[in-house]
């Protein structure tokens, strides 16, 4: 695998209980023929298990994995991964931790 096959992922990190400001962590992972959700799971299981995100059905039904990739709101399980991804929580809702949002509390 060459470095061309790796995506750069900028991951939004923010824990309102601890942090005053959001920050971003950067990862280099393979992405071809994966979804954004596959990439996040890979990072969680292999590189950093401290960030928070949701996934369940993986088929676009439950809509719990809604987030923003490069500023565009998408379902992570449906969205093909690209070579540069800035992944942030959906801007409409309050952040519980990192990509986890509280759907009951609109900003």
């Amino acid at each position: 695998m060459t470095t061309d096959d790796l995506a750069t992922v900028e991951l939004f990190r923010f824990d309102p209980n601890v942090d005053s400001e959001p920050r971003y962590c950067s990862f280099r992972v393979s992405y071809k023929s994966y979804t954004v959700m596959n990439v996040l799971s890979y990072i969680y299981e292999n590189l950093d298990n401290t960030f928070g995100f949701r996934w369940a059905c993986g088929k676009g039904f439950c809509r719990c994995c809604v987030l923003c990739v490069n500023g565009k709101p998408v379902l992570a399980c449906m969205e093909p991964a690209t070579e540069y991804m800035k992944i942030e929580p959906h801007p409409k809702y309050q952040v519980l931790k990192d990509l986890l949002i509280d759907f009951d509390r609109v900003k």
């Binding site: 979804t35 993986g58 039904f61 931790k97 986890l100």
Partner: protein, 588 residues
Amino acid sequence: MAGFRAALEASDLGAKVVMTTKGLWGKDAGATWMAHDGYQCWGIHPDDSLDLAAEDTIRCGWFLNNQENVYTFLAHVPNTGRELLKWGARYNMAGSLFAPTWQLGQSIPEGRSITPATWPRGELGYQYSRIFPRVLMLKKKKIKIMEDLFTVDLLTMGDAVVGAIGIDMRSGRFKVFKAKATILATGGYQGLYKVSTANANLTGDGHAMALRAGVDMMDFEFNQTLPSAIWPPEIAGSLLPFCMIMEWDARMYNGQQERFMSKWDPAKMERSTRSLISRGIFHEIKEGKASSHGGVFVSVSHQSKSFLDEKIGEWERTRDFAKLRRVGFDPGKDAIETGYSIHYCQGGCSINPRCETDKEGLYAIGEVASGSKDGGDRMMSNALPYCMAMGIIAGREAAQFIKNRKTPEIDLNQVEELRRTSLQPLQRQNGIRVYEVKSIFQDLMQMEIGYGRTEEGLRLALNEIERYKQEILPNLYVSNEQKRFNQEWINALEFRNLVLMAECLIRNARMRTESRGLHDRWDYPEPDSNWFNNIHLRLQDGQLSQWTTPVEFTYWKPEEGSLGEPRHKGVKVKDYEGWRAEPLHKGI
């Protein structure tokens, strides 16, 4: 759906209800939002009746059903249909009636004699996730919903269940509940298998809790599977290939380009039943003739260009097909890789028609409750009606049960012990991470406890489960010590539940030395007249004990000379005299 309906019913009757879910209610928690199938109400057709619906269900279940449960639950079903309509669910209708004839989007469920299943229009299960929260708001119910709460175990006192303990993922703290009555509605254990049409975080938590509380469980050997996509990953778990077989006349090939269904159903080939197709796919994979991603190919490339263009035009706007097109799928050239995926789990708590388990104050409904309502095979499209009916019954019974009862005392030593064992994976400094073993474990399950079970395979799988219990579970470790939103910690606790589910399943499958319904043994390929029995399980002092109970043919018995196969008719024994709803064709 079942849990919500029970909460609503109990709350209507004046009970104070707390509903906990391990994810977000209406999103990742629960199974209903993922429901693909229709909603089967008996009585849409004037010739249909409760008797016919029950007979069809019992025949479909190879005469293993608990017939009292079948009748009691089905009796409520037309009312649940009316209720859903009132709440705003949209079904295919003809005027004010459910459409009694075949319409676009309706099908007569496999095994059903008359009534078509009413298919919700639009996004299937999705509409329930919109109407239920609305119902809750409109009714201004005082149901407290606690989300992101992973329930670890039930609290017991003698022979009664007195509450539960869980982890509030949002704060990382343990929450202890004292309850006069507890209703389990936790779905199935689809997480046991790698590919699932359902929500992958259904990990048998309710089953495992009930087992550890010493509840009588049954029917673990029956698990329903469907052919579903495994590649491309964008549609993994989707039923699209199955739909393409039915509507595009798609063909299936193994990795060696053979149409393997000729071995299984030479007459109907790919248009065979769901279980035969799943069985065929399973055998190809097991014989090493799988496609590159471990399935078989489903292709429509033999069809003419004009046929394909027409179908593409029709399907372009459907969800899964649009996804396929987005990744550049060309039906004329490309094939979808298809495996089999777990769809529904029939094992669960042994319950009576009042949805009570054998522990005082504990009710089970939906998929976590077996009560042998489905017998050896589940009738298509009746999972959701069962959920609604059981929700109504359990909510009512629980509300009745708690009247004039004091809040029970709980055993603080038990709480402390459960808290200690749940924290263990966090406290270990090293060991095995759940992600290192889960995938291997699921592969083992997918291969050994699918179809074509053998004594040898099951024995080896059971040995492997023993090894997991001895070597892996006691060494599970989570490197992230934070308690808030620690998904890996929850996954480790879920994995413990899954291993227990696997053991139940394997033990039951070994004991049933015949092939019946969804249970397929290579070494005992035929049904056996001595096996009109249900296999029960109970966990006592860390050991699973098993016993069988004979099926009571209360209302229907198999024809003379029949071994329960669905192709034989049933013989009426007596009439059902319980309460029953008006059939739907009499108006809504």
